[in-house]
């Protein structure tokens, strides 16, 4: 068993780490405060190949694997979650369906711009009546004269309403007990993106409700076979979990980085607070849990890269890391005392950014269901 990363993986991790520290960190607070989408950073990441890490070069991707993807997501989240989720949702939710289920024509047409970060992909699964119960889709698509006519609404969709948003892959009912995935391009009449939500965190990431009113797209916009939508979105969510789990590890690590640095600087009772046993215990526990969680995430990525079933490990990784991120950011704020409650300190933003990780892309309760099912319970 080899715990060492390959040279390529190590160098990618180092590069993303440098980029996050040098390019993202200086603007993260402002992007969050002004709720501004990170267009420039996305463009830079596109040029570096990070908006299409796990896709083959023939479609404009970087030709990397899931581990490379997880490492990049982790290092970005260590510094800023909004930038990370933009890349993460774009890759595993927006672009994967096109790559995995799209026809050759769809792939050739959409993937090069997506992988280069010139266009963003979004995934529209959640609806007002379909969250955890994602199969309870109400959005309808009816085939009329070679076109899908779509009516319905989507809720909480990432990356659909930016200036560079290219498409959303939505689930829609195409028959009584039939769900299909369909691509709807931005600019299609009848497809509208609502106002961005006022969120607790992820402030620089784009999240909006979407509506479809007599929205017509060509029949060829169907992804894969008609009626395959349910199976398809489950697979997409499995893959997505590796990315979100990497976010959890990255955020927890970022919180620990900040807490450790602060604890060494801040003095009380005549010494740095890092010399107090209770503070040391917090730091030691966090670093131990982070390392354990990280191994779980890399294992899930590795299983996927080896072509094995990774559903269980990915769900375990997602469950473990989301909770850890929430706890780690809370402890980091605690270690900062009152300063942790002030926005000048990154841990304040980290704390707000953490909570979504136990909710998005399958709540903790849903992960527990998936895990229990895999155990045969």
């Amino acid at each position: 068993m080899d715990f060492d990363l390959s040279d390529d993986h190590r160098l990618l991790r180092q590069t993303v780490r440098d980029f996050a520290r040098e390019q993202v960190a200086p603007v993260a607070e402002e992007l969050d405060r002004t709720k501004s989408f990170p267009y420039e950073l996305v463009a830079q990441m596109g040029e570096l190949g990070w908006m299409g890490i796990p896709f083959p070069e023939e479609y404009g991707g970087a030709g990397g694997d899931s581990l490379a993807y997880a490492l990049a997501v982790e290092e970005l989240t260590r510094v800023d979650s909004s930038v990370a989720i933009t890349m993460c949702a774009h890759t595993s939710l927006g672009t994967q369906p096109v790559y995995l289920f799209g026809s050759e024509v769809q792939r050739r047409e959409l993937l090069p711009d997506l992988c280069a970060g010139r266009r963003l992909g979004a995934f529209g699964l959640t609806e007002p009546e379909a969250g955890s119960d994602a199969g309870n889709v109400r959005t309808r698509a009816t085939l009329q004269d070679g076109e899908w006519v779509i009516d319905g609404a989507k809720q909480f969709i990432t990356n659909a309403g930016t200036e560079i948003s290219g498409h959303v892959a939505i689930t829609a009912k195409t028959g009584e007990n039939e769900i299909s995935n369909i691509i709807v391009e931005n600019g299609t009449p009848g497809y509208e993106q609502g106002q961005p939500y006022r969120k607790m965190g992820w402030n620089a990431s784009d999240t909006r409700p979407l509506t479809f009113t007599d929205c017509r797209v060509p029949e060829e916009n169907l992804l894969g076979p008609r009626g395959a939508g349910f199976k398809q979105f489950l697979h997409i969510l499995d893959i997505g979990r590796i990315g979100v789990a990497a976010m959890g590890v990255g955020l927890a690590q970022g919180a620990l980085d900040e807490a450790l640095a602060y604890a060494k600087e801040r003095r009380a009772f005549g010494k740095p607070i890092s010399k107090f046993q209770t503070i040391q215990a917090k730091l030691a526990d966090l670093s131990t849990e982070i390392e354990a969680a990280r191994l779980l995430v890399y294992k899930a990525a590795r299983e996927k890269d080896l072509g094995r079933n990774f559903t269980l490990t990915a769900a375990q990784a997602k469950l473990k890391t989301g909770r850890l991120a929430v706890r780690a950011t809370e402890e980091a704020v605690q270690i900062h005392g009152g300063y942790g409650y002030i926005e000048e300190y990154p841990v304040c933003r980290f704390y707000r950014d953490a909570k979504i990780l136990t909710i998005g892309e399958g709540t903790d309760e849903i992960q527990q269901m998936v895990i229990a099912r895999a155990l045969g319970a």
Binding site: D7, L11, L48, G63
Partner: protein
Amino acid sequence: MKICVLVKEVPDAAVQKRIDPSTGRMDRNGEKNLNPYDTHAIEAAMQIREGGAVEVDEIVAVTMGPSTAIRALHKAVSLGADRSVHLSDDALAGSDVAATGYALAQTLKRESPDLVLLGQQSDDGECYTIGAVVADHLQMPSLTQVIQMDVEAGPPTQLRCERQAEYGYDTVQVELPAVISVGDAINEPRYPSLKAIMGAKKKPLDALAIGDVDIAADRVGESGSKVICGDFKAPPAKSAGEIIEDEDTNETVEKIVAWLDERKLI
């Protein structure tokens, strides 16, 4: 024109540096990275190539170091070098600056470069001297701490360089071949794209031992080095300073003046 860039693997900037008490040398465990100054040297080479004033046929990254140093070459190549040369030999372990400079010069002779670029200092040793030593062995002019470089096509090809000196800036015109060490103000290095990282291993790498480049074994390594590592210690911790509260500015100024006066500093 052929450019050779000297590169080195050093402990990552985020790693806290410390002396290993058992060896009296720097503890080089932990996360490593390409010496940050060397990334500026590679970028400088790339900018000469992309600037188009002269035709750059080849950019070659050259390192001397243990087997792990190959990672520094990997990064150098992902940043744009066309191929790399790795000089590695047990006989080289413990070489001081003079021995290292000699070994690198012998390696460079085999390449006969028109221009040798390197970072002005390494993040670990911080000697600032390798460039000059190499230049002396190669009988080439040497410029250090260069923060701007413009190429004037020849013949002879010349470089117009601005050096950052203690007292200001020097502008120096130099004819190639030359050895130039660069400072970090010279450019903003690019990041290697993922494609470049994954493609780097496909670019040629020459692994050389001292016999391949006529390095005399008695002039390198610990025995061939004149520097003797004595007793390294971390500097003593500074005593706490005196804090003068600023309640009344006039009084504060007086207190500061008195403090400085007492120490005969003004």
